[in-house]
């Protein structure tokens, strides 16, 4: 047992605050119950440790360059403090002030949330990953440096935080060790949202100090607004891939479908995560097949930003978030559609359907819906001829956090799977109590230095355990089986996770989206739609 790390320790310079040992992690089920060969986080290179602030846990998510001088450090600390007071001001934080204040003021330190956190539990209960730890750091800073808490109160309440660059830089990295899955908020007896505190910290760092993960900001939201997509895909590329999907559809189904683009007055504007077009084009193609067969009046958009439904702002920056959300709504307004339907992307659900309500006013407040109830309606309408025996292999369902816990969309995807997949089985727990894939809040796209390794070893560990547990009775690699993950971000995480643990070869587990499984069950297809890697 190591000594318990306190809030004060975060501000004490040392080479590395914690060092996670393979043997201390949460145990995994068969066939990962032997040696700890998949449990070591990759080490940073020496020169990376010299260039960046890596003294939290030896892992780099943001990679903050080391300030050149003590004066620069001081200036950053001052910016943090002034930004923090803005965070607590109703004129500057009109988005989340109320839940933030509530979460800072009412936590009873009962620690009920701890065991609900997959990162805390998977890591072997590392103190700094405890969901209340980063919240407590922030709370103590607010009390001591903004509210002028007296020395006696600080002693009495055990407030020992020190505000310095070490604290701040570690806190910034620490705000990227939580996937904002919000299981902690769900389990809290009073509703304290430590996930929101993570979000507000990231926002403070981005909006006030210019510190954010490069994948989310520079080549994320910035590129999205400038080029049209966070993937760098220009409208011409989108149109080229659309043509490619039409060819693929004809080859696989024998149907000639023209995918509608920029169709004015369509009923539905369907927006996908652009990652689908590049990494999983069979998913938007499956949507086209289903919508066509159901006779819907729908369209895609080829406008800048309109063909990419992601909004990474929702993870770290309210300003960037608003810019993208408004653009999405404007495009729908110009197309005169009745509603926007969001494809299989969890965070786009959260961004466009829920949080955008804070910024879309007047005629920009266009109805925005999840694709899940619509797909359920289509599947049960009888418009598609489906034969479940075409999906006669074990299937389990991964619930994207934003669909289930945030929005309560739980039953449509299950009703569909029970109808089209005879060997469907739930993982435990599921629905609103699901575990994050480990790639939430932007983690799945943060692919630099040793962060992907941390993501596979720590933040995805609980999900791997759940998936392997769900298939224990058919774990042989000879039995092909699927995790259905109706979310691009989750699929990216599954691809990396299954690859890291060699799950395909060891257990025969693949991943896919939901519409892919629906199309696979269509009776008039000559060949299976799903391909096994």
């Amino acid at each position: 047992m190591t000594e318990k790390i306190t809030v004060q320790d975060l501000g004490k310079p040392c080479e590395q605050l914690i060092d996670i040992k393979a043997g201390s992690l949460m145990a995994l089920p068969y066939p990962y119950d032997g040696a700890n060969d998949h449990s070591t986080i990759a080490q940073l290179k020496e020169e990376q440790k010299k260039r960046y602030e890596a003294s939290l846990d030896g892992v780099l998510a943001i990679g903050i360059p080391k300030p050149a001088s003590p004066a620069e450090e001081k200036a950053l600390v001052a910016k943090f403090l002034s930004g923090l007071s803005k965070l607590l001001d109703k004129n500057d934080n009109w988005t989340f002030l109320q839940p933030l204040k509530f979460s800072l003021e009412y936590c009873a330190r009962c620690q009920t949330c701890n065991e609900a956190c997959p990162i805390f539990v998977s890591s072997g209960r590392q103190e700094i990953y405890r969901p209340t730890y980063r919240a407590e750091v922030l709370r103590q800073i607010v009390d001591k440096y903004l509210h002028g808490q007296s020395k006696f109160s600080r002693w009495f309440l055990g407030n020992n935080v020190e505000l310095n660059w070490t604290t701040i830089s570690r806190l910034a990295e620490l705000s990227y060790r939580c996937t904002i899955c919000r299981r902690c908020a769900q389990t809290c007896p009073v509703g304290i949202d430590n996930g929101l505190i993570t979000h507000e910290l990231r926002k403070l760092f981005s909006q006030e100090l210019g510190i954010a993960a490069r994948e989310l900001h520079e080549v994320g939201t910035m590129q999205h607004l400038k080029v049209g997509s966070s993937t760098g895909m220009k409208p011409s590329a989108f149109m080229d891939i659309k043509k490619f999907m039409e060819e693929e559809i004809e080859e696989k189904t024998g149907r000639k479908i023209e995918i509608p683009v920029d169709k004015k007055g369509a009923d539905i504007l369907l927006i996908h995560n652009a990652g689908e077009y590049l990494s999983w084009p069979e998913n938007p193609a499956a949507f086209a097949i289903i919508f066509d067969a159901a006779g819907l009046n729908w369209t895609l958009s080829s406008e800048l930003v309109g063909y990419d439904g992601v909004n990474y702002g929702v993870w770290y920056d309210d300003v960037q978030f608003s810019r993208i959300a408004i653009k999405h709504a404007q495009i729908a307004k110009e197309l005169k559609v009745n509603k926007i339907v969001v494809g299989e992307c969890g965070h786009a659900h959260k961004a466009l359907i829920v949080i955008a309500d804070r910024v879309l006013t007047g005629d920009l407040n266009i109805p925005r819906e999840s694709c899940m109830p619509l797909l359920e309606e289509i599947v049960f309408s009888g418009k598609l001829k489906l034969d479940p025996m075409r999906n006669n292999f074990p299937v389990t369902l991964h619930d994207p956090c934003n669909m289930v816990r945030l929005m309560g969309i739980v039953s449509p995807q299950r009703r569909i799977l029970r109808e089209i997949a005879p060997q469907f089985r739930e993982m435990t727990p599921h629905g609103v109590e699901n575990y994050c894939c480990g790639g939430g809040s932007g983690f799945a796209i943060m692919q630099s230095m040793n962060f992907p390794s941390w993501r596979s070893v720590i933040s995805g560990r609980m999900k791997l355990k759940q998936v392997v547990d769900a298939f224990q009775d058919v774990i042989s690699p000879d039995v092909k089986k699927f995790v259905c993950a109706p979310c691009s971000n989750c699929k990216g995480q599954f691809r990396d996770l299954l690859n890291y643990y060699d799950v395909g070869a060891k257990c025969g587990i693949n991943y896919t989206g939901l519409v892919d499984l629906i199309v696979n069950a269509m009776v008039d297809l000559k060949q299976p739609y799903l391909e096994v890697d």
Binding site: E47, Q48, G63, E215, V219, G220, Q223, V227, S229, S230, T231, G232, M233, K234, S236, A237, D240, I241, F244, E248, N273, A274, G275, E276, Y277, L278, S279, P281, E282, D308, V310, C345, A444, I445, Q447, S448, M449, S488, N489, G492, D533
Partner: protein, 106 residues
């Protein structure tokens, strides 16, 4: 930004080995990248076919092609792509083709 020596030149690379100065890309730079990153030496005709395809697509559209398209148009099985570039199409082939690191939910 770290630097490395490729084809006798100092070239800036990012933390994951993708070159940051696209103007300096050449066939020699590609050969060196393939050798260092994927232990491929020398690149075969198929390696070049894949790398040129990715590069041409990128120059035209600003993004690497979908993996599915890349396999289909070149008549390569995905498995074969991984045999050629063990780190895969993105971390392997795109890097050799001198593209920046793929971004977004890909």
């Amino acid at each position: 930004m770290p630097k490395t020596k490729l084809a006798g030149m100092e070239i800036e690379i990012d933390e994951d080995g993708f070159i940051q100065e696209p103007d300096k890309w050449s066939k020699e730079v590609a050969e060196d990248l393939a050798k260092e990153e994927s232990s491929v030496h020398p690149m075969s005709e198929d390696h070049w076919r894949l790398v040129n395809y990715i590069r041409d697509y990128y120059i035209k559209f600003g993004v690497a092609p979908p993996v599915r398209m890349l396999c289909k148009q070149n008549k390569f099985e995905l498995k074969y792509v991984y045999e050629m570039f063990p780190k895969g199409p993105a971390a392997g082939a795109c890097k050799v083709a001198g593209l920046p690191k793929p971004t977004g939910c890909v």
